[in-house]
Each structure stands twice: as structure tokens, then as C-alpha cells.
């Protein structure tokens, strides 16, 4: 009634707001305000673990709300809300569930780090909540403008997080680089929205799809241009080649727990919107955009796997590995089928937990000052700290696609989707890239468990050093196996294109001696986070049915 009167009074039409449809978003965004309010009203600074506990609590609340919504959707079917701008369907509630899980785990794996680095305060946690809210909204948004807003809500906290370790120069540089490139990609994205609006007359995903299915455009240059720019914008967010240049530098420079978070949540949000826009708005044009993605997938999986081979910095290596994973997730989108979307979503689920856990371990091993990320520091970790090394080995093997882990079923699912869509070449290239990637995961595992003495650098690496990457390949690759020469050459080429601002690891190639990493120094919070990530990886690897079912209910509301 009130709204009616207002409507009569002004010409502004206010839509009916269905609050249950956006309950998880409201919880996490409200949660961030709560965190800020608590930190403002408490006279003394609270210990970081209090904020961490609160954030996990907010995550659990959001998870419950998401599951309630999931139940509603299973019972009552999907619906649109708030002036057709929010989709509540199997897909969006799954994205919400996943984002909630990320929010539960993130503070667990970060608390120990912030305690050690004496970077107290609630900023990290409040920012994480906001970012998760953005990711949820990206999964649910049914309007390109809303997707853009959600993208910014997702991204801006990440830029701040990258620069959170204000005492370290590398952190500031990473933040600046991330912000500049992120802003640039957002601009491209908005321009893409404008062009699509120009061509179709709407920004609503459903209306775009309806328009395109009823009309044949005589000149579709504008539409294609818009689609191309949207692909570029999304590719920046999910770090697909050739829009990946920022990833290794940002991952290397940012505080490690923030890297784990941004690696998971940015991909969750980015892929959620990418999948929804292209599968639900442009299905009629799939013959146009599929070949583009075909190329992107191939170069993404290959560059990710090959460039990671030459990395000596574990954070950088994981950055390239996450690029490789992005290629795999795109494989599901490239298939442009419901199976593909479900596969991508399953992959996102598995990947998010793996990458959070992996960076959780890296944060511990990095040591005071967050600088010990050379692979040398992992030498003999299996002996000094068997539990931590065991968890890391398991997470890495799962990333490589080892059987009876979620990583295997994730790869299986997307490759299955690709094969079902008759993209045999893509499937084979992706699997071969997985085999290449296994090499560098195994190298870390070998360094942790098998090798005790440092291996001298092979002579062939002199050329690489000359190519302009002294910091990264200074001591080059250990066991000179079968892939080195080719990998070295192409990796060098790729790296040479990305000038490195951050050179923090040049001096810290030796294992830092300030404190030995032992199982004992790992905080209980980190253990809890690792147990959850590793446990989920193994349990859902041995008993995949529930998670597969879950992903298969991710029907988009077409």
C-alpha cells in the first residue's frame, strides 16, 4: 500500500522486494557491517581470532540460509524476484552455498597468519564478507547492470586485501597492479554491456535471450562486439589467458591468506556470471562464441601448466596452476550444455576448497614476514612437519587430479562434458595439460618428502636468466627430466611478456632460518581449516555421490 502511494506520488516505480530471495547476501553484507560496528565500539582492539570466529559464524548463517533457499527451490521451483533482476534457481543457490563455504573456511586459514604477522583488526574479515556478498550476487543476478555492480562489490575488497600487508612493499605493488588492471577490465565489461544493450534493447538476461530467439539481426557487429568485450571482461576476472598477466604478480605480492581467498572467490563469482550470461542469454549464438572459448581454453590450460613448470616461487607456481584450473572450468562453459554448467560448478567447488587449503599451508610455511615462498623452503618439510606436508601433498595431488579426491571427479566431470559435446581435441589437450601440471605438483611433493640436498642449477638456464627473469629462475628447475628444455623456452617467452614489479624473493632463495616450520607452530584454527578442506577433498572423492547430485541440480532458469 505504502509503495502504491509512493508510486502515485512520484513517477519512480519501486519493485516489490522479496527478502528471502536475497537472504544469504543480506546476511553476509550485514555481517560485514556488524564486524565493523563491533570493532568500532570495542574500546580495545579485539584479538584477530574473535573476528575470525564471528566471520565463520556469519558464513555458517549464510550457509544455512542458502540451504533453506535450496530446499525452497527443490520444492517450489525456480523463480525470479525483485523486478526480474534476481534469479533464484538451482544454479544461484549452489553458488551461494559455495560462497558461504568459502566464507566459513577463509577466516580459519587466515587467523593464524594475521596473528603471526600482528596485522590485527577486522578489515580482512569485513572485506571478505563484502566480497562473498558480491560473488553471491553475481551468481543470482539476472541483469547485466546488476552483474556489473556485483562484480565491483566482489572486486574492490580484493584490491584492498592485496594491499593489506602495508609494511611489505610487494603487497602495495600487487594491490596497485590488481586495481589498475581490474578497473581497466571493468571498463571493458561496462562497454560490453552498453553494446549488448544497444543491439538487443535490454540488459535483462531473460529479455536478451527472448529478443535473440525471436529476431534475426541483419547486422550483428554491435552484438558481437558486446559479446567479445564481455568475454574479455570475464576472462580478466577468472584469469584466462591472454588476460592472465596480473595473476602471478598479484598472487606473489599479496598476503598469502588473501591470495587463497581471492583465488577462490573471484573465480566463483566470475564463473558464475560468465556461465549464466553465456548459457542463458546467448545460447542462440553459441556457434559464434564457442570457437572463441575453444581457443581460450586451449591456451589457458597449456600456458597455465607450462609456465608453472619454471617457477621457483610456490605462490607463483600456484598462480599458474590456478590459470590451468581456470581453463578446465571454462571447458564446462565451452560445452554450452547443462552438463557442462554442472561440471564447471562442481569443479569450482572442488577447486575452491583445494586452493584455500593450499594457500593455507603456504601461509604457514611462508614464515614471519610472509616471504619464505621459495621451493627451497619446502625441502625436507615431510620430515620436520609430516602432518602439514602430508596435507599439502594431498591437496596438490588432488589438484593434479589424483583418483579418489574431488580433484579427479572435477576433471572427469568437465572433460566428460567436453567429450559429450564432441570436443575431443579440447578434452585431450586438457588432459595432457593435466599431465604436464602433475609434474610441478610432484616436484613440490618430491622436495618435501624425497629430496634432502639442493640440486645444482642446470647450465641451460643461463639463457633464461638472460631473458630477463633473474629473480624467478635463479636456481632453476631441479631434476632435469624430460620436459625441461621445451618448458623452459616457452615459459621464458611467456614470462618475458609480463614485466615483474614484485621482486621480493630474490634474496630469500635459501630456507629462512628464523624459525623452523614444525607441526607445533600451526595454530588450531589453521588445523581446523585444513582438516575441513582435506577432509572434504577425500570424503567427497571416495563418496562422490552427494556432491555430484548437488551439482546436477544446478539447473539454470532458462
Amino acid at each position: 500500500m505504502m509503495a502504491r502511494t509512493l508510486l502515485a506520488a512520484s513517477t519512480l516505480s519501486l519493485p516489490h522486494v522479496n527478502y528471502t530471495a536475497i537472504m544469504p547476501e543480506l546476511i553476509v553484507l550485514g555481517g560485514s557491517l556488524l564486524l565493523l560496528a563491533v570493532s568500532a565500539v570495542t574500546p580495545r582492539r579485539l584479538p584477530t581470532t574473535v573476528y575470525a570466529a564471528m566471520t565463520s559464524g556469519i558464513g555458517i548463517a549464510a550457509l544455512v540460509a542458502s540451504l533453506v533457499l535450496y530446499h525452497d527451490v527443490r520444492q517450489g521451483g525456480a523463480f525470479v524476484a525483485i523486478a526480474h533482476s534476481i534469479d533464484v534457481d538451482g544454479f544461484s543457490v549452489l553458488v551461494m552455498t559455495l560462497a558461504s563455504c568459502v566464507l566459513i573456511l577463509t577466516p580459519m586459514l587466515a587467523a593464524g597468519f594475521f596473528e603471526r604477522e600482528r596485522l590485527g583488526g577486522c578489515e580482512y574479515y569485513a572485506l571478505a564478507c563484502i566480497s562473498v556478498g558480491g560473488a553471491m550476487l553475481m551468481g543470482a543476478a539476472n541483469d547485466l547492470v546488476l552483474i556489473f555492480l556485483a562484480l565491483e562489490v566482489l572486486s574492490i575488497p580484493l584490491y584492498v586485501m592485496a594491499g593489506l600487508d602495508y609494511r611489505r612493499e610487494g603487497s602495495g605493488e600487487a594491490a596497485l597492479k590488481y586495481f589498475l588492471l581490474g578497473a581497466f577490465s571493468s571498463a571493458i565489461f561496462v562497454y560490453g554491456i552498453a553494446l549488448v544493450y544497444g543491439a538487443t534493447g535490454s540488459t535483462n538476461l531473460g529479455e536478451i535471450a527472448a529478443f535473440l530467439s525471436h529476431n534475426v539481426l541483419v547486422a550483428n557487429g554491435v552484438l558481437y562486439g558486446g559479446m567479445a568485450l564481455l568475454i574479455v571482461g570475464f576472462s580478466f576476472k577468472i584469469a584466462a589467458v591472454p588476460f592472465h598477466m596480473w595473476t602471478p604478480d598479484v598472487y606473489q605480492g599479496s598476503p598469502t591468506p588473501a591470495v587463497g581467498f581471492m583465488a577462490s572467490i573471484a573465480k566463483v563469482g566470475g564463473f558464475a556470471a560468465f556461465l549464466r550470461v553465456f548459457i542463458s542469454s546467448f545460447p542462440t549464438l553459441s556457434q559464434t562464441w564457442k570457437p572463441v572459448l575453444w581457443v581460450i581454453v586451449i591456451i589457458t590450460v597449456l600456458v597455465g601448466a607450462i609456465a608453472a613448470l619454471v617457477q621457483r616461487n610456490v605462490k607463483r607456481m600456484l598462480a599458474y596452476s590456478s590459470i590451468n584450473h581456470a581453463g578446465f572450468i571454462l571447458l564446462g562453459l565451452q560445452a554450452a550444455t547443462a552438463r557442462g554448467a554442472a561440471g564447471s560448478l562442481y569443479y569450482l567447488f572442488a577447486y575452491s576448497l583445494l586452493v584455500l587449503g593450499s594457500f593455507g599451508v603456504v601461509a604457514v610455511v611462508g614464515g614471519r614476514g610472509d616471504s619464505g615462498h621459495s621451493i627451497e623452503r619446502y625441502r625436507g618439510l615431510g620430515r620436520r612437519s609430516p602432518l602439514l606436508a602430508g596435507a599439502f601433498a594431498l591437496l596438490l595431488l588432488a589438484q593434479a587430479g589424483a583418483p579418489f579426491t574431488t580433484g579427479f571427479f572435477a576433471k572427469l566431470y568437465v572433460v566428460e562434458a567436453a567429450v559429450a559435446a564432441h570436443s575431443y581435441a579440447l578434452a585431450i589437450v586438457a588432459m595432457v595439460s593435466a599431465a604436464i601440471a602433475a609434474f610441478f605438483y610432484l616436484r613440490v611433493v618430491f622436495v618435501m618428502f624425497g629430496d634432502v640436498q639442493p640440486v645444482p642449477a642446470p647450465a641451460g638456464d643461463a639463457a633464461l636468466v638472460a631473458a630477463g627473469e633473474p629473480a624467478l629462475v635463479a636456481t632453476a628447475v631441479p631434476h632435469a627430466g624430460l620436459l625441461e628444455p621445451a618448458a623452459g623456452a616457452s615459459g621464458g617467452l611467456l614470462l618475458a611478456e609480463a614485466p615483474v614489479l614484485v621482486e621480493q624473493d630474490a634474496a630469500t632463495v635459501e630456507p629462512s632460518t628464523d624459525e623452523e616450520v614444525r607441526d607445533g607452530i600451526v595454530s588450531a584454527w589453521t588445523w581446523a581449516g585444513l582438516i575441513l578442506t582435506v577432509g572434504a577433498t577425500v570424503v567427497f572423492g571416495i563418496w562422490p555421490q552427494p556432491l555430484v547430485d548437488f551439482a546436477q541440480h544446478a539447473h539454470l532458469l532458462f
Binding site: P403, Y413, A435, P478, A551
Partner: protein, 586 residues
Amino acid sequence: MPLHALAALVLAVRTQTGLAGPANTAPFPFLNTLILVPAAAALVILFVPKKQTALIRTIGLVAAMGVLGIAAAVLDQFKTSTAGYQLVETHPFASGLGISWNVGVDGVSLFLVLMVAVLFPIALAGATEKENTKAFTVWVLIAEVGCMGSFLSLDLLLFFLFFELTLIPVYFLMVGWGRERRGPAATKFFLYTFAGSAFLLVGILSLVFIHASQSGVTTFDVIQLAHTHLSGTADVVLFLAFTAAFAVKAPMFPFHTWSPDAYATSPAGGVVVLAAVMAKLGTYGIVRFDLSLFPHAVVVLAPLLLSLGVAGIIYGGIVAAAQRDLGRLVAYSSLAHMGFIILGAFALTGEALSGAVLQMVNHGLYTAALFLLIAMIYRRRGTTDVRNLGGLQRKAPMMAAVFTLVMLASIGVPGLNGFIGEFLILAGTFLTHRWWAIVALVGVVLAAVYLLWGYQQVFHGPSADAAADERSGTRLFRDLTLAEGLVMAPLVVLIVFLGVYPQPVLARITPTVDHIINQVEAVAHPHIPALGRASLSAHTTPAPTRQPHHFTLHAVLASQTIVGIGDPGAGTAAVQGRIPTKVASR
């Protein structure tokens, strides 16, 4: 007869545990237990404190012996003269993706399962790795899970999961307990096999979707997938994708380059798993999947694969003769033996295929024995280089005797197990592919050359040079200890037993093998009325009375005459395996 003793033991166990009962009331899940027991033991050991090495070793051994007991029960339950899968157990696993937990055993897998069950306790007991017993035992048990699962899976994807799983424990065994230069060898091994698997996975998925588009059902069930109608090209391409993975794993020439390094640097326990058991996953995959899923491609490409097999036999033999390291020598000799198995698999006669299956088991037994002996020498001398060894016979007569016996089995001397397999393969191949068999015969001679040469270098001749003696700190070279003797004893017994009395084994292998050959023949010669591919779907169909193959008569005559020289029982067994008769018992 040890077999009777085993059966008695099984019977005792069954009456004790109340397992005995009418066959059709909820049978005991034997096959699942085979997979789950080692997995459970590995899990238990994870929670035992690291210091309790004796307890850990006991748990590991008890679990592995338990698996052996269950495997013996499976042998007891197994119905002879039956071609289909037996003791099948099906559970939902990831039905959303069409994957089910579907396990069963037939004539091809039965003895491989038994071989796994026999070799793992030996690998655990024979392990000389003193440090970090806990991790070692866990990895060996996980490897057993992987191998058992691979041999038992009737679901292609479940097979793939276990097939891949075997890589991880073996990698860690090599990395953690291997000899010098193990890092590159382990990585090379992992990457080769992983890359091969990439093709296998894509091949599996393609086959499944081709099947799904025809039947509307997404399933990885081997039996159902055998009904897929494949175009000529798809058949060949998928066959190659599958074979790529199996050829790397076996290893088959020319995909073998990882194996000498891997075999030579692995620890004793690891190499038993790797060379004796895991290598069979490749040849098993060929027999189980290639032959039943792509019969058309098998017929078309048989000459190519036979040639690769023969090339492996000759190349492996020649290169083995040039090796100075015992580990590498046996690795190349394994390559030659794998060549024989490939030959048997693609000769497409019942005799050759039976021989190939039997030879997989034989090769597992004597390779395990050889590598264990090599590890014993390595432990005493710190080297396996023949130039630093010599004259060991005088110092260790028992070891020399065991080595001689195992080596003779590997050469294929009548009366020992290697002979039966090799003979059946060559005889069967001769019937259909004469020239390949003739060239392969050269390999038999080569085997005698390099193995006898290696034996001479190590056990005869002048005593090891002074430098080697000084390095080990003593001029003494201990003979087999009691523990080592106990580890070797079961292998020696089995090598001799299978050599003189293979009839019970062949009787169980032959029905399944004949059935597989029938199917392939139905595709190769469609004008000969034969039972269609559909008949495999019945789990316990009696073996179809097969159209008399025009070569069979010759085979009977040939094998009876020639095998008869070695042992009268073996000759009849070789060709009449289908007839469950006691005539051959002596």
C-alpha cells in the same frame, strides 16, 4: 597338494566364521573385502604411533595375509568351466555420472587377483626398508588396494580410478625409499603413465557417449559397453587411445623408456609392486578391454601389435645382454617378456591367449623373486653392478641355488612355470601368425644368453674385486637368512608347482579365454556362425560349445607332443583345460 591344503584351510575358515551355507543366500562380499581390507588396514596404521614399528609391520602383514585368505576363498568359490563374471557385486557409487561400484572376477582376472594376494605379503615381508616403516606399510597397502581394484572392476571408470590410484603409492615408495637418482626416475615414471592415462580417460568417455547416444543410457559398465556399435574409424581410434595407456603401463616397446630407470632405482618392496604387479595392469587392460570392446580394431591392428610385441622381445633381449646393472637387466628382460604376452594377446587363438594370461602370473612370480634377490645382493654389497660382483656362489650357495631356479624359470626351461606360458603363446601364435612366432623364438634364445651371462658374472668367476669388498667393510657375503628364505620359499614353490602342474590354473582360464576369442572371431569372420557379443552379459553362462576352430586340432597334436617332453600332465592340461578332469593329476 598345496591347493588342497589351501582349500582345506578355506573350508576351516568358512565353518569357523559361519560363512558356509547355501550358495544362493546372500553370499559373503568376497571381492569387496579384497579391496577394503588393505584400505582399512592402511587407515588403522595411520593412527598407530610411528615408533611402534613392530605393531605396524604386524598389522600390515596380517591384513595382507587376510587378503590372501580371502583370495583363496574366491578361488574356492570360483566355478570352473564358466566364461562369465562371477561373484559380481554392484553398489551405487556416483550414479549421477553413470559410475557404479561393480566388481567381479572371471578366468582372466582370477589368477591375477591371486598373484596380487600372494605378492603383497611377500613385498611387505621382504621389504628391507628400515626407516619410516609406518609410511612404507601404508603405501604398500594402498598399492594393494589399487591393484586389487583394477583387476576386479567391471566398471570402466572404477577401473580407471584404481588404475590411476596405483601411481601414487608407487611414486611415494620410489621417492621415499629408492636408490640414487630416484627423483628423475620417479617423475618420469609418473608422467609417462599419467600422460598415457589422459588418452585412456578421453577414450573411455568417448566410448561411453557413443554408447549413450545409441542406447540412451550413460553407463561405464564393461558388459553393456561391449554392445556398442562402433564405426570402423571410431573403433580404431578408441582402440589406440586405450592401448596407449596400457602400452605405457605394461610397458610395451617402444613406450618402455621409463621402466629401466624406475625398476633399477626402486626399493625392494616398491619394485615388486611395480614390476611384478603393476606391469600386469597394462597387459590385463589389453586382454580385458581391448579384446572385448574393440574386436574389429583388434583384428585390423593385430599385425601391428604383434610386430611391436616381437620387436620388444628382440630389442629387450639384445639390450638386456648389454646391461651391467642387474636391475636394468631384469627390466629389459621384463620388456621382452611383456612382448611375449602382447604376442599371445593379439595372436587371437585360444592357446596363445591362455598362455598370455598364464604368463602374466608367471612373470609376476619370477620377476618378484628376481628383484627380491637383487635387493638382497644390493643390501649386502651396496651395488647391483655386475662388474663389482662375482664369485658369490662359493660365499652364498643357497642364494645361488634359488637364483638359478628363478632364472631358469625366467628363461623358460621346461618343468618351471615360465615354460608353459611361453610355449602356449608361441604354439598359439604359430597357428595364425607363423613368421612372428619364428622371430619370437629367437627371443627365447636371447633370454638364455643374457640371463646366463648375468648369472655367470655375479655368481661365478673371480671373486668380487677388492674395492667392492672394502666398501662393504667385510669380505663376507652372507647366504640367505632364514627370514629371507621364508620370503623366497612361497615364490619358489609356486614357480615349481605351476611348472609341473598348471592344469587347475588353465582349467579356469580357458573357458573365459575361449569366449573372448569367440567374440573376436565373430567379428573377424562373420560368415562363421558364432555366438554374438551379447552372450557375455550373462554372468554365469556356461562356456558356449565352440565351433571347432580349424587350427585347434593341430594345436592339440603340437602341444601334446612337445609339452609331453617336459611333463605329460601339462600337455593335456594345456589344451583340455576346459574339461575339469582329474586325469592329469599324478
